[in-house]
């Protein structure tokens, strides 16, 4: 918008806002045709636009606005009555005006090409106006038809423009003068307090009092500024009635939209961020959620469908729900399609609960094929919705009951700027760790470090309640000199969990948790990648905020084998009859059991899939349809028992215990992989590095690995080979 001057910019922002308001008024007008106030407001908006355009010299805009004003004038004078065609025509007028405003915003001019011709629209306005002059039914009929045709194309355009970024609106903010006055007062007070502090000359008697005052003034100021940034969610909701109306019309449905909690405040930047996902969700609800009137009638529902938008605050975050009373997500079809598209295997699909199956709609692969979306009811780019919401630290959930409707819940933090963080020290510097990904804190005294830290190659692992946790030394990663105090004082292990990967960050010391204000870094420092921002600490110094996910990736936590390369071993393995698939080796958990026969075999699982090793009492194992299940931390895990351990133990009483490896689910990626299972084994032997072998059916049908120079069978569901080969 380079060559647009200040005055025009202001006019654009004001006019677009006015048009949005009119959208709402017009849809309201359809419900309440005799509301004089509503009509008055619409008339005033168009009149204002017309007046200002004449003044700024936008002739095309003026002509169009004038045609609209004349029509609205007749309407206000009672010469015309409100009917759907008229409202449709007026909505088209708004679209026309909006298109010109956008053009001005982009080019500074209102456009004079042949395609920028409004005569059709103006003719329509005149036509509608004449209809009121009494030339009757005969002429109103064709107009009605042409309008339906027009509005059938319209929703696409309307939807498109709704998704396009709103230009000026993202950068400007309207603030109540009251709020601004309050801010000014507070700044005045701040200056006053500063003067008093300077004049006190460090007098200790008045100092506590001044500090208290400073504290309260800053708190108030912060509160006020935050408030000014807060915008009612209603601003985003505002455009939905129009969108829903157009969309419903085009798919021959009757849909009503309801709102609650429009006053819920949300930070301006966050509001902009959720605008598109929310639009998407509402569009999906109307397009795919709500059924055709006839289907609804058969299901015993009112012909008119309802989409309910709800916003409320909950636990420091804002929840926005989009609920429809449509057909819900047909789980069976979703699963069918997921298997067809190779997102899950047949077996996985069979084991999935309804809820798990519904989560599949968030899978990226699910959005592309039109066929899938048509049947599944949801899923036009749901992965995009999730991505957008997660970008600002939010989450998306879906709840659906077949035949009853669907509820989509977006949860976003109240504000982006302030987060709770734990301040840690490493190599003499302070760093902040966002508390959201903090799982637990462990102090490791020097005496115990020797017994609890295990080594595999160069990789350090910490034995935390029988679970092996990869350790990442922060000072080493950042190239800082370690303080050397660990020798005598031990160290702290911060257990972090992000995106399903878990690791322990070794730091020298822990400081207090603080509420920190996140400040952006310059591009040069952002490029380092390990820091997501910086903050000023209470002590006055600056501290970097660590990007937990990147730190994990850099340390190779996810691509587990990167650190544990043992070249001498792989060389030996390669000389064997079966060649190793990769030059890098990875840690395996070795256990013994007899799977294929009576003989005890050495078996292995890639360490990356083993989450924990648990001792489970037989009384905790439950059976459903002959399949053993284990309730584990609020999760229901299927148990796999190839060695028949459970059968043997069943006779030994309720207190006999079995060793269960809690494993990350096999196959798949992303959300589906998060599904866990338990594997019952006879005896866990050790953790050791090994190389995966090329599968060779002549020697053995199973996947083999060379671990400590002994052949070991790798459970076929978890070859771990995919990841290994990625690294190699």
């Amino acid at each position: 918008m380079g060559d647009v001057d200040e005055l025009t910019k202001e006019f654009l922002a004001e006019s677009l806002e006015g048009l949005d308001r009119m959208d709402r008024c017009l849809t309201d007008l359809e419900q309440r045709p005799h509301d004089k106030d509503l009509l008055g407001e619409i008339f005033r908006s168009v009149h204002t636009i017309k007046g200002t355009t004449g003044f700024l010299g936008f002739e095309r805009l003026e002509r169009l606005a004038h045609a609209g004003e004349t029509l609205l004038g007749s309407l206000r004078d009672g010469r015309l009555t409100v009917n759907p065609e008229l409202v449709g025509g007026l909505l088209q007028l708004l679209d026309g005006l909006r298109a010109i405003l956008r053009l001005i915003d982009l080019t500074g001019k209102e456009g004079s090409r042949a395609t920028d011709d409004d005569s059709e629209l103006i003719a329509l306005m005149e036509h509608l106006n004449r209809a009121g002059d009494g030339d009757g039914e005969s002429s109103a009929q064709p107009v009605g038809r042409s309008l339906v045709a027009a509005s059938e194309e319209k929703p696409v355009a309307a939807g498109g423009s709704a998704v396009a970024p709103g230009g000026a609106s993202e950068k400007t903010l309207r603030i109540d003068v009251e709020v601004l006055n309050r801010m000014m007062n507070l700044v005045g007070e701040l200056v006053l307090t500063r003067n008093q502090i300077i004049q006190s000359n460090g007098d200790s008697a008045t100092f506590p009092q001044l500090a208290r005052r400073l504290d309260s003034v800053t708190a108030d100021l912060r509160e006020t500024v935050m408030q000014a940034r807060m915008q009612p969610v209603g601003h985003v909701f505002g455009k939905f009635p129009r969108m829903v109306r157009d969309l419903a019309l085009s798919c021959g449905k009757s849909v009503r939209i309801e709102f609650s909690g429009q006053q819920t405040g949300l930070d301006k930047s966050l509001l902009e961020a959720i605008k598109d996902p929310l639009t998407h969700a509402v569009r999906n609800a109307v397009d795919h959620g709500i059924e055709e009137p006839r289907t609804r009638a058969l299901a015993g529902k009112p012909a008119e469908g309802t989409v309910h938008l709800r916003a409320y605050q909950h636990n420091g975050s804002v929840v926005i729900e989009v609920e429809d009373d449509g057909g819900g997500i047909p789980t069976a079809r979703v699963l069918e399609k997921a298997v067809e598209r190779g997102l899950v295997t047949q077996e996985q699909a069979a084991e999935m609960t309804e809820r798990e199956a519904q989560q599949l709609i968030f899978q990226p692969g699910f959005s592309t094929a039109a066929k899938v979306t048509h049947i599944s009811g949801r899923g036009v780019g749901m992965d995009v919705v999730v991505a957008n919401v997660e970008k600002v630290g939010g989450t998306v959930e879906v709840e659906s009951h077949e035949g009853k409707g669907t509820l989509l819940r977006l949860r976003v933090p109240l504000t982006l700027a302030i987060v709770r963080a734990l301040v840690v020290r490493s190599g003499g510097q302070s760093f902040c760790l966002p508390q959201s990904s903090l799982a637990e804190l462990v102090y490791v005294p020097w005496r115990e470090a020797a017994t609890q830290v295990e080594w595999i190659g160069d990789a350090e692992l910490f034995r935390l309640r029988d679970q092996l946790l990869p350790m990442v030394r922060l000072d080493r990663m950042l190239g800082l000199e370690s303080e050397g105090t660990r020798q005598t004082h031990g160290f702290y292990l911060v257990v972090l969990e992000i995106d399903g990967c878990r690791y322990g960050l070794v730091v020298d010391d822990l400081m207090a948790p603080e509420e920190i204000v996140v400040k952006p870094l310059s591009p040069v420092l952002r490029e380092i990648g390990l820091f997501s921002g910086a903050t000023m600490l209470g002590s006055g110094s600056l501290a970097m905020i660590l990007d937990i996910a990147t730190v994990g990736v850099r340390a190779g936590v996810r691509s587990l084998s990167a650190e544990a390369v043992m070249p001498d071993q792989s060389a030996k393995a390669a000389s064997g009859p079966v060649a190793a698939t990769s030059s890098s080796s990875s840690p395996f958990l070795i256990f013994e059991d007899h799977w294929s026969g009576e003989r005890m075999e050495r078996l292995a699982l890639p360490l990356s899939v083993v989450v924990r090793i648990e001792s489970v009492a037989m009384k905790d194992v439950e059976y459903v349809g002959g399949r053993p299940l284990l309730q584990y931390r609020g999760e229901l895990l299927p148990l796999e028992d190839r060695g028949g351990v459970l059968r043997e133990l069943a006779g030994m009483g309720a207190d006999a215990t079995a060793t269960v490896l809690i494993c990350q689910g096999p196959g798949g990626a992303g959300r589906v992989a998060a599904r866990r299972m338990g594997m019952v084994v006879r005896r866990v032997v050790e953790v050791a590095n090994g190389d995966l072998m090329e599968s060779n059916a002549e020697i053995c049908a199973e996947r083999l690995a060379m671990v400590n120079e002994r052949l070991t069978v790798v459970h076929e569901a978890f070859p771990g080979g995919e990841r290994l080969r990625d690294v190699a």
Partner: protein
């Protein structure tokens, strides 16, 4: 201490003189937002060598470029002084760490000479020329070229420290 330009005209401009590693430089006073004096510097691990650290300035986290590092001079633990430079409207604000700041010098535009062609590439990328003052040469630093993102773009000042360049020669300037 805010330095304000004094009686500038068409042919006279005011420069703020500063020292780094015993050499004298000048920078247009209009581009200086504030001279902070000795500020608390926070090192950033893994940052490129030319980044001296970050400082808190007016609620912002400002990246500071170490002039010694870009000139390839030895690091010092001695006294340092931080200037906050303001660029164009849309550009980031950044800091410049120097040994000390002298004062405001008025120089005549016509005494300006361009960089000599024999100057090494790295210095050419930083200097916009030199003013012939009665007491010697005053090398003008171009704040636009000192911007962290610009330095990163040139690729001349990577992590490796360069040996100090000799081509410049010693320059003095009486203030």
């Amino acid at each position: 201490m805010k330095i304000v330009g004094i009686a500038e005209g068409e042919d006279v401009m005011s420069m703020c003189s500063l020292m780094s590693g015993g050499r004298l430089f000048g920078i247009d006073t209009r581009t200086i937002r504030e001279v902070l004096g000795h500020a608390q510097m926070n090192r950033v691990p893994l940052a490129p060598a030319y980044v001296g650290g970050v400082i808190a300035y007016r609620g912002e986290v400002v990246t500071a470029v170490s002039l010694r590092a870009v000139l390839g001079q030895e690091k010092t633990d001695g006294h340092s002084c931080v200037l906050v430079l303001d660029g164009d409207e849309n550009e980031e604000r950044f800091g410049l760490i120097v040994d000390s700041v002298g004062g405001v010098v008025m120089v005549e535009r016509r005494t300006m000479s361009a960089n000599p062609s024999t100057l090494d590439e790295a210095s050419k990328a930083l200097f916009s020329g030199a003013f012939r003052t009665p007491d010697g040469l005053l090398v003008q630093l171009d704040p636009e070229r000192l911007r962290p993102s610009r330095i990163a773009e040139t690729g001349l000042f990577g992590r490796a420290q360069r040996p100090p360049s000799k081509s410049e020669g010693e320059m003095r300037c009486g203030l």
